[in-house]
């Protein structure tokens, strides 16, 4: 039973961490956006803008007129960008950021949300874009919003397979599972790195799931090759076509924060390792080194899943996007799932060792 003092303390921690994480998400989201633009420019043989360019872009948008088209539904048109940013910030509270436990699970005893909740919350920014697009009263925006809906339906399928597989492997008592309690919570997932639980077949399965998650990320973020909802060259910005000024800036910030969110999810699921135990550090030096290591992990994931892909590949049509997610990627994710399932059977029936045991990690 919770004491009143504990409740007040918890609520205060939640309020303060929301403020802190909102600024963390926005600041580092914009920094990563700058790095992404710089690296992609170099890959295309350009110098590219300075790293602080995204901050300047937001500043510039704040000085521009906030035009509300005459066909729009004004209150929905204005509310959608706010909802998008708010929904994205709220996800940060449920993720383990910088080597710390998720802030919305204070003291590790009380759990306020899990991975399934994060899956649902991830839809809010996309839905905000869709609602904003429909409320714009423009044919381009409507087509963009419809494409965003189709993209969402397409990528949720492989994404759900990945999440379920990881939680099932950790939580199951059968077939090589670890029998971890509350396997869907990020606290449990980060405390039991999934790579330590698998044998050779499971390793292949996990690599396949990681590849699928890296390909799902650009669609979550509406980045090339899955940016058909915005497609500047054919529908002039799609669902954002009528947005300008501060409303557009809100969507810009949402995109920046969501990039950090998606990379943090990949870190939490597949790379929850910290450097401090390796050096035997504790307290503040450990916090600093783990936080820095977390930022580096995020950067590497963004470079692979956003920058490299968007520079290397051209935009897909919406039917190609749907096909990519529902056929090849879902099949790859299912093969990954089956590999992990059989891996457990092989361990149980034939005594196959875990990879981590072979390497002497556990």
């Amino acid at each position: 039973m919770l004491e009143l003092e504990q409740i007040i303390r918890t609520v205060m921690i939640i309020i303060l961490s929301t403020v802190a994480l909102a600024f963390f998400g926005i600041f580092f989201g914009l920094i990563y956006k700058g790095i992404d633009r710089k690296i992609s420019a170099h890959m295309q043989g350009r110098i590219g803008p300075p790293l602080r360019q995204p901050f300047r872009d937001v500043g510039k948008l704040f000085t521009k007129e906030n035009i509300i088209p005459e066909n729009a539904v004004p209150w929905v048109f204005n509310l959608a960008p706010l909802i998008g940013l708010v929904g994205t910030i709220s996800i940060l509270l449920y993720l383990p950021i910088g080597g710390f436990q998720p802030l919305a699970s204070v003291e590790g005893e009380i759990i306020f949300g899990d991975l399934i909740l994060i899956l649902y919350l991830l839809m809010i920014p996309s839905l905000a874009l869709v609602i904003g697009g429909f409320a714009s009263g423009s044919p381009y925006a409507t087509v963009g919003a419809q494409r965003e809906m189709a993209t969402m339906i397409a990528y949720e399928f492989p994404l759900a397979i990945i999440i379920i597989t990881v939680a099932w492997k950790l939580g199951s008592f059968a077939a090589g599972g670890l029998g971890v309690e509350n396997a869907f919570t990020l606290t449990a997932i980060t405390a039991n790195p999934i790579w330590n639980a698998v044998g050779p077949l499971g390793l292949i399965g996990l690599i396949l799931l990681l590849i699928v998650l890296i390909v799902v990320t650009p669609a979550e973020l509406s980045k090339i090759p899955f940016d058909a909802p915005e497609a500047e060259t054919e529908i002039g910005g799609g669902l954002l076509v009528e947005y300008s000024g501060r409303n557009l800036a809100m969507f810009y910030l949402t995109d920046a924060v969501k990039t950090v969110v998606m990379a943090s999810i990949i870190v939490a699921l597949f790379f929850p390792y910290n450097l401090s135990p390796l050096f035997g550090l504790e307290s503040y030096p450990a916090y600093i080194i783990d936080f820095t290591f977390f930022l580096i992990k995020i950067l590497i994931i963004i470079i692979f899943s956003v920058t490299l892909i968007r520079v290397a590949v051209a935009r897909l049509k919406i039917d190609q996007i749907v096909y990519t997610y529902w056929v090849p990627l879902t099949l790859i994710a299912l093969v990954g799932l089956i590999c992990i399932m059989w891996d457990g059977t092989m361990m149980e029936s034939y005594g196959w060792p875990k990879i981590a045991e072979l390497l002497g990690f556990i």
């Binding site: 039973m1 919770l2 009143l4 409740i7 918890t10 609520v11 939640i14 309020i15 929301t18 403020v19 909102a22 948008l61 704040f62 000085t63 007129e65 906030n66 035009i67 088209p69 005459e70 066909n71 706010l82 940013l85 708010v86 910030i89 709220s90 509270l93 919305a104 009380i110 759990i111 306020f112 949300g113 899990d114 399934i116 909740l117 009263g137 423009s138 044919p139 381009y140 409507t142 087509v143 419809q146 494409r147 809906m149 189709a150 339906i153 397409a154 939680a167 509350n182 919570t185 009528e242 000024g245 501060r246 409303n247 800036a249 809100m250 919406i318 039917d319 749907v322 096909y323 529902w326």
Partner: protein
């Protein structure tokens, strides 16, 4: 009477957790922050001028009914990429009750064969 502790309880199934009240607090604070940030931007624009007209890449704006994008357009991507599947399915949907019963019997037969073999 409902105790405050019960009110703050996390909803839990065997493996899922979510606390709506805590999420509500997070949303409220985040909304406040987003609203303050948004408030730093310019809110004026020139009403009833060319700039509030819909952007159509220079094409003339037609009547609203003519510019309307159908809701069924959402499924275009699915219909196009799974044409091979839908074409087959459409042929099966004849609207004939005899065909419907035939399918029912065939599927039931397959189930019995599977169950018999297992």
């Amino acid at each position: 009477m409902i105790e405050i502790q019960d009110f703050l309880r996390t909803l839990a199934t065997n493996s899922g957790f979510w606390n709506p009240l805590i999420w509500g607090i997070i949303i409220f604070i985040a909304l406040l922050i987003a609203y303050i940030i948004r408030g730093r931007g310019k809110k004026e624009y020139k009403k009833q001028t060319e700039q509030t007209k819909v952007f159509l890449s220079g094409n003339p704006e037609l009547e609203k009914e003519e510019m309307h994008v159908k809701a069924s357009n959402v499924y275009w991507g699915f219909m196009e990429s799974f044409k091979w599947l839908y074409n087959g399915l459409e042929k099966m949907h004849t609207g004939n009750v005899s065909d419907y019963i035939l399918w029912f019997v065939i599927i039931l037969g397959i189930f019995f064969i599977i169950l018999g073999v297992i």
